[in-house]
C-alpha cells in the first residue's frame, strides 16, 4: 500500500501511510529518497529522511518497504568506507561521480566477487544448527579469517552444506529445514537490523587492557577490551587525533572508524594513510582490519543518527566471530544533535539545551552495546575440531570510544554529563594543555579509569611487578607539583624548599618524558607497554636520585643543568619500542652517573 506525502519540513516529512510501522524503511517520491518511519499519528506516518528533501513535492508517493534499517554482514566489509545507511562510498564514486547522489540504492557488498569458502569439517549433515554457529570460513584479508555465521535468529536441521570452493554472495552455501518444515537458504552474508543489538550467550568479565600504544592511556587511564570510553574536549584539543591513534595502534582485531558529523578531510586522511601503515603486530597494512563509516558534517543530518548504529552493528558482527573489535565514534555530540534536530521538528518537549528527554537513555543504550561476551553458537560448534577448522575463540568484545564535542568546551552540558555517567574510562581533554601543545592534551586531574585494578594484573603478569606502584607515585608527583604551583603563584618560587622545587622538576620529567607523546613523530607515535614502563621508571629514578643529591647539598639549579635530564626527556623519540635494550642501558648509565655525582659531592663535603 503506497501512501502520499502530506508535509515537508526539512529532513522530517509526514505521509498518509496507514500500513507502515515504526522503524520501517520507506522510499519517497520520484527521487526515491530513503526514509524511516519514526512515529505515527493516526493514519499519518512521521518519517525521517536520510537524504536531502529539496525538490520533494506534496502528494508524491511514499512506499513502505516492509523492513527496518538493516545492514549487510559478510566478507568484503573490511577496507571499505560506507555512508550512514551502509552505501559503499568508493563504489558510489564509480557509479555517480564526486558528489553524493540522492535516491540510489547500491548493495553494500560486492555481488560479483568470488570468495573461497572453506566449509566446516566438523559440521555434520542432519545435525541441528542454530544462530551464531559457524558454517565455515573465508579468508577475508590476510589478517582476518571470517567465520560464516548462521544468522542469530535462524535454526534448523542442516540438509546441505556447500563444498569448499569459490562462491559469490548470491550463491547459497547451506540449506536448513526449520521448525516450520520449510527450507531456508544460507549465504555468505546476512542482514541484521541496526537498532537491535545482536544476541550473545552471556556477558563475560573483561580482563585484558586494550593496548593503544599511547602512554597516557595504557599507563595512566587504561581501557579494557570490551570497555567504554569517552573523549570530551573543545575544538582542536585532539579528539580526532587520539581516535586515529587508537585506530592505528591498538591491539584489536578489527577497527571500525565512524566519522559522524565531522570533516571529510579527516576520513580521507585515514583512507589515504592506513593502507600504507603497517600494523606493529601483524606487519600487515592497517586497512586490512579497518572499516569506515562516514557521515560528514555536510551530509544529511538524519543519516548521522543512523551511522553510529550501522557502525556498532558491524562491530557486533565481528565480535560474534570471536574477535576483539574497537569502534571509535567521532563525534557522539553530532549524533546527539541529530536526535535533537528531529525531536525539535517533531515538536517534542525539549528538556535541556533543546535535547529531548530520551537523550540519556539513548546514549546509555548505545554504550551498552559494548562489552566482552561469550559468543552465540560457539559451544554448539564441535569445539574440539582437532585442528580441522580454523580456531574461533569463544569470546569476543566490542570496545566503544566516543568523542564528545561540548559547546564552548564546557563539560557541564548534557551530552558530556550523561556520557560521563555511563563510561568507565573518561579521557578529558584540556584547552590549556592543547594551547601549550602538550599532546595528547589529556588532563591527569579530570580524567579517570575504573579499570586500573584489573589492568594492574595484566601489567604485573606481562611487564613488571612494580607497575601499579610507579603509576601511583607519578600521579602523586603530578598532584604535588600542582599544589606547589599554586603556592608559587601566590608568593613566588622563593617560598619553596629545594626538595619542593625538585618536585616541580620531577613532574616536568613525567610530563615531558612520559605524558607528552607526539602522534606525528614516527618513533614516538607508538610505545609498547615495555617501553612505556621503562620511560616511567627512568623519570622516577632520576627524580629519586636527584632527591638524594639535594640532601647532599646539590642545588636544584645545578641538577637542572645535568645533560641527562634533557636526554631522558628525549628518549621517547630516540628509541623505538624495539630498542628497549637501549633504554635499559641508559637507565644503568643514569644510575652510574648519579653514583659519580654523589661521590664528588661527598668528597667536597669532606
Amino acid at each position: 500500500m503506497d501512501g502520499k506525502l502530506t508535509q515537508i519540513n526539512g529532513p522530517l516529512v509526514r505521509a498518509e501511510l496507514t500500513e507502515a510501522c515504526i522503524g520501517e524503511q520507506v522510499r519517497i517520491g520520484k527521487l526515491n529518497l530513503l526514509g524511516e518511519v519514526i512515529g505515527r499519528e493516526g493514519s499519518t506516518a512521521l518519517i525521517q529522511v536520510y537524504e536531502d528533501t529539496g525538490s520533494l513535492i506534496l502528494g508524491e508517493k511514499v512506499e513502505a518497504l516492509g523492513h527496518p534499517l538493516s545492514v549487510e554482514l559478510g566478507p568484503g566489509l573490511l577496507g571499505q568506507i560506507f555512508d550512514g545507511v551502509q552505501r559503499p562510498l568508493l563504489d558510489l564514486v564509480q557509479l555517480s561521480g564526486d558528489y553524493i547522489p540522492r535516491g540510489v540504492s547500491i548493495p553494500a557488498l560486492n555481488r560479483d566477487k568470488k570468495w573461497l569458502f572453506n566449509a566446516s569439517q566438523t559440521l555434520e549433515l542432519e545435525s541441528i544448527v542454530s544462530g551464531g554457529m559457524s558454517l565455515g570460513t573465508v579468508k577475508e584479508t590476510e589478517l582476518v579469517i571470517h567465520q560464516i555465521l548462521v544468522p542469530p535468529n535462524c535454526s534448523g536441521r542442516l540438509i546441505w552444506l556447500a563444498e569448499t570452493g569459490s562462491y559469490t554472495l548470491n550463491e547459497p552455501v547451506a540449506r536448513i529445514k526449520n521448525e516450520q518444515h520449510t527450507e531456508d537458504l544460507l549465504y555468505l552474508s546476512h542482514r541484521w537490523p541496526v537498532r537491535t543489538p545482536r544476541p550473545f550467550n552471556r556477558r563475560a568479565d573483561s580482563i585484558a587492557p586494550l593496548i593503544t600504544g599511547q602512554r597516557i592511556f595504557d599507563t595512566f587511564f587504561p581501557l579494557l577490551k570490551g570497555g567504554k570510553a569517552a573523549i570530551p574536549g573543545p575544538f582542536g584539543a585532539g579528539k580526532t587525533m587520539i581516535q586515529q591513534q587508537i585506530a592505528r595502534w591498538s591491539d584489536a582485531d578489527i577497527v571500525i572508524y565512524v566519522g559522524c558529523g565531522e570533516r571529510g578531510n579527516e576520513l580521507v586522511d585515514v583512507l589515504e594513510s592506513f593502507p600504507q601503515l603497517i600494523d606493529p603486530r601483524s606487519k600487515r597494512s592497517l586497512m586490512e582490519r579497518t572499516i569506515m563509516v562516514a557521515n560528514t558534517s555536510n551530509m544529511p543530518v538524519v543519516a548521522r543518527e543512523s551511522s553510529i548504529y550501522v557502525g556498532v552493528t558491524m562491530a557486533e558482527y565481528y565480535r560474534d566471530q570471536g574477535l576483539d573489535v574497537v569502534m571509535v565514534a567521532d563525534s557522539t555530540s553530532r549524533w546527539a544533535e541529530a536526535l535533537r534536530e528531529v525531536a525539535g521538528r517533531l515538536g517534542q518537549m525539549p528538556v535541556e539545551e533543546g535535547y529531548p528527554a530520551y537523550l540519556a537513555s539513548r546514549l546509555a543504550a548505545f554504550y551498552e552495546r559494548s562489552g566482552r561476551v561469550h559468543i552465540l553458537g560457539h559451544e554448539k560448534n564441535n569445539s574440539d575440531s582437532g585442528g580441522k577448522d580454523p580456531v574461533r575463540k569463544d569470546q569476543g568484545s566490542v570496545t566503544l570510544i566516543g568523542a564528545v564535542s561540548p559547546p564552548g568546551g564546557d563539560f557541564s552540558e548534557p551530552v558530556t554529563g550523561h556520557t560521563k555517567e555511563i563510561v568507565q574510562t573518561f579521557w578529558a581533554l584540556s584547552k590549556e594543555l592543547a594551547d601549550a601543545r602538550h599532546y595528547p592534551s589529556v588532563s591527569w586531574t579530570e580524567s579517570f579509569s575504573e579499570y586500573v585494578a584489573v589492568t594492574a594484573d595484566w601489567w604485573v603478569a606481562n611487564v613488571h611487578p612494580d607497575w601499579l606502584k610507579l603509576r601511583a607515585e607519578s600521579l602523586s608527583l603530578l598532584s604535588q607539583a600542582q599544589e606547589l604551583m599554586r603556592i608559587v603563584n601566590l608568593v613566588g618560587p622563593e617560598a619553596l624548599s629545594s626538595e619542593q622545587r625538585w618536585v616541580l622538576e620531577g613532574a616536568d620529567l613525567i610530563k615531558e618524558g612520559v605524558l607528552q607523546q607526539s602522534a606525528l613523530d614516527e618513533v614516538d607515535s607508538y610505545a609498547s607497554p615495555e617501553k612505556q614502563f621503562l620511560l616511567l621508571q627512568m623519570m622516577l629514578i632520576i627524580y629519586h636520585q636527584g632527591e638524594k643529591m639535594i640532601v647532599l647539598g646539590m642545588s636544584v639549579q645545578a641538577l637542572k643543568k645535568l645533560p641527562l635530564l634533557i636526554t631522558a626527556k628525549r628518549c621517547k623519540s630516540t628509541y623505538s619500542s624495539e630498542q628497549t635494550e637501549n633504554l635499559k642501558q641508559f637507565i644503568i648509565q643514569i644510575k652510574s652517573d648519579f653514583q659519580k655525582y654523589r661521590l664528588e659531592y661527598t668528597q667536597e663535603l669532606l
Binding site: L56, G354, H438, P493
Partner: protein
C-alpha cells in the same frame, strides 16, 4: 476551483524559465499562471499562504508586491494547508491583498561561465555593477551537493603567505578552510588583504581566482577590498558577491552558497586554484537566528538554532580538493567573536568544523603589534602534512612546536612576574621573559608590506630560540640544536 485545474495541467518543464503571462488581470481572481494571490499572513521575512499543488520544497519563488516590485523567496516548509516562504528582501509593508506569488518550480540556481570573473553580484547572483547578467546554459543549484568523502584528495600543498605567524606556526595549505577569528576594530581586513597580495597561491598566473563573499559589511570595507584587488592588478580574476550592511538580511543566507557554487565551478570545472573569502560569518549566523526564531525552531545556545552546526558545515565543507581534478578551494572566513568571546556559538561551531583557526588578539593589537595573531589558541590542522622535509624544511614542525611550548611557558612566567615582581624571577625565567618579548616584537610583528620567505621565518625562529638554553628545548632534536641553535653567541647571556 479554477486555480487547481490550471495548476494540475501545467507541466513543470513548460514553465521553467518562461516568463509567466497574465492569464487574467481581474483582481478578484487568485491565480494567473503559476502565480497566486492567497497569502494569508506575513511577518519577519516569512510569508504564509494556502498550499498549492505541484510546488517543491526548496523551490525559488518570485513575490510581486503591490508596487509591482519583485522580491525573491524560497519555499521552506510545506504542509497540506500551508506553504511557508522565506522572502529574501523581507516581508515589510507587503499588502497581502495585492501581492502575487509565483513559483518558479526550480531551486535557486546560478548561471556559470568564466564571464563571472571581474564582476560584482548580489547574494542571488544579480549584477551589482550595472553590467548585463551572466548568460549561460550551465546553471547549478546554489546548495550544491555533498562531496563524497571518498572522492576527496587530502590537501597537502604549502601556501606561503609571507606572514611568519601563519607560515611558521599555522601553515595554510591549498584546499584548507582556515578562518580568522577577530573582533570589531581588529585589523582582519588588512591581514586578509596582505594574504591575498602575498600568497604564493597567486604565483601561478591566470590559474587562480578569488571569490569574495561579503555579508553585511560596510560600504567602506567592500570598497577597501575592491581597491586592494585593483591595485594588485588581480581584479580580472576576482568575483565579488556583496551584501552590504543596509541590504536585506536574509540575502546573507543565500549569498555564501551562490558564491561557493561559482567557486566550485571555477575550481573543479575550470581547474583554478580558488581562494574564497567569506566575511563576516557572524552576520550570516545572525541572519539565520533571525529567521529560525521567526519559524519557531527550537533554539539551542544563545537563541541560535540547533542546526547552526550543520548549516555552517554545509558552507565550510565546500572547501577542499577532489581527486583527479586540478583546481582547489581554499577558504578563509572571517568570524567576529561577539564580545571577543571564543566560546560564543559562532566561533565555537566554526572551530569545530574548520581545519584550524587564526585568532586575533586585542591585547597584541593595543601593544601595536601587527598582525596581532594570538598564537596559543591559533591552529592549523593541515599543517602536519603540508610542511617538513619535502615541503618546507625538516625542522619546521619541531621548531613550531618548540615556539608554541616556549611561548606558553613564557606566558606562565609573565603571570608569575605580575604577581611577585620580575626581580624575584630566576635566571631561567628571565630568559623566558626576553624570549616572549622578542617573539612578539620580532617574530609575530612584521610590516604590512613585508613578505618573509619560509626560510627567513625559520631562521628568525632559531634566533629567538637561541635566547633560551638548550636544556629547556626538549621539542627540537639534538641534531636541530647542533645545526641551528647558538646560545653562546646571543648577546646578554652569561
Amino acid at each position: 476551483m479554477i486555480f487547481k485545474n490550471i495548476a494540475l495541467n501545467i507541466r513543470r518543464s513548460y514553465y521553467e524559465g518562461i516568463e509567466c503571462e497574465e492569464i487574467n488581470s481581474e483582481r478578484t481572481r487568485t491565480v494567473r499562471g503559476l502565480e497566486y494571490r492567497q497569502a494569508s499572513a506575513a511577518h519577519g521575512g516569512l510569508l504564509f499562504m494556502h498550499s498549492v499543488p505541484g510546488i517543491a520544497y526548496g523551490d525559488q519563488v518570485i513575490v510581486t508586491d503591490h508596487r509591482n516590485h519583485k522580491r525573491n523567496g524560497q519555499v521552506v516548509q510545506i504542509s497540506g494547508e500551508l506553504v511557508t516562504i522565506q522572502v529574501i528582501e523581507g516581508t515589510d509593508d507587503l499588502d497581502l491583498e495585492r501581492t502575487w506569488v509565483r513559483f518558479l518550480q526550480k531551486p535557486f540556481q546560478v548561471s556559470l561561465s568564466t564571464d563571472v570573473l571581474g564582476r560584482i553580484f548580489n547574494g542571488i547572483g544579480k549584477p551589482r555593477d550595472d553590467r548585463p547578467p551572466i548568460v549561460s546554459s550551465l546553471k547549478r543549484n546554489v546548495n550544491g551537493a555533498a562531496v563524497n568523502p571518498a572522492a576527496r584528495a587530502y590537501p597537502k600543498e604549502f601556501i606561503q603567505t609571507g606572514i611568519a605567524a601563519i607560515d611558521g606556526l599555522n601553515s595554510l595549505v591549498r584546499g584548507q578552510k582556515l578562518p580568522l577569528f577577530s573582533g570589531s576594530g581588529l585589523p582582519h581586513n588588512r591581514l586578509l588583504a596582505q594574504i591575498v597580495r602575498q600568497a604564493k597561491l597567486l604565483g601561478e598566473e591566470s590559474n587562480f581566482a578569488i571569490v569574495f563573499a561579503a555579508m553585511g559589511i560596510s560600504y567602506s570595507n567592500a570598497l577597501f577590498f575592491q581597491n586592494n584587488f585593483e591595485s594588485n592588478g588581480v581584479l580580472g580574476n576576482v568575483v565579488m558577491f556583496i551584501n552590504q550592511a543596509d541590504d536585506p538580511t536574509l540575502e546573507r543566507l543565500i549569498l555564501p552558497r551562490t558564491a561557493l557554487t561559482v567557486a566550485e565551478y571555477l575550481a573543479f570545472d575550470e581547474d583554478r586554484h580558488v581562494l574564497v573569502i567569506l566575511t563576516d560569518m557572524t552576520n550570516y549566523a545572525e541572519a539565520l537566528r533571525e529567521i529560525s526564531t521567526e519559524k519557531g525552531d527550537v533554539p539551542a545556545r544563545k537563541g541560535y538554532p540547533g542546526y547552526l552546526y550543520s548549516d555552517l558545515a554545509s558552507i565550510y565543507e565546500r572547501a577542499g580538493r577532489i581527486k583527479n581534478r586540478h583546481g582547489s578551494i581554499t577558504m578563509m572566513p572571517v568570524v567576529s567573536m561577539p564580545s571577543d568571546d571564543i566560546t560564543h556559538p559562532i566561533p565555537d561551531l566554526t572551530g569545530y568544523i574548520t581545519e584550524g583557526q587564526i585568532v586575533l588578539s586585542r591585547e597584541l593589537h593595543s601593544k601595536g603589534i601587527y598582525p596581532p595573531i594570538n598564537i596559543s589558541p591559533s591552529l592549523s590542522r593541515l599543517m602536519k602534512d603540508g610542511v617538513g622535509k619535502n615541503d618546507t624544511r625538516d625542522d619546521h614542525i619541531r621548531v613550531a612546536n618548540q615556539l608554541f611550548a616556549a611561548y606558553a611557558k613564557a606566558q606562565e612566567v609573565r603571570n608569575l612576574a605580575s604577581i611577585i615582581g620580575a626581580d624575584e624571577l630566576s635566571e631561567e625565567d628571565n630568559h623566558f621573559l626576553s624570549f616572549a618579548r622578542d617573539f612578539e616584537a620580532i617574530y609575530i610583528n612584521q610590516d604590512e608590506q613585508q613578505e618573509r620567505s619560509i626560510y627567513e621565518t625559520l631562521n628568525i625562529s632559531w634566533e629567538l630560540l637561541s635566547i633560551l638554553p638548550a636544556s629547556v628545548l626538549s621539542r627540537v632534536s639534538e641534531a636541530d640544536l647542533a645545526r641551528y641553535h647558538h646560545w653562546e653567541g646571543h648577546p646578554g647571556n652569561p
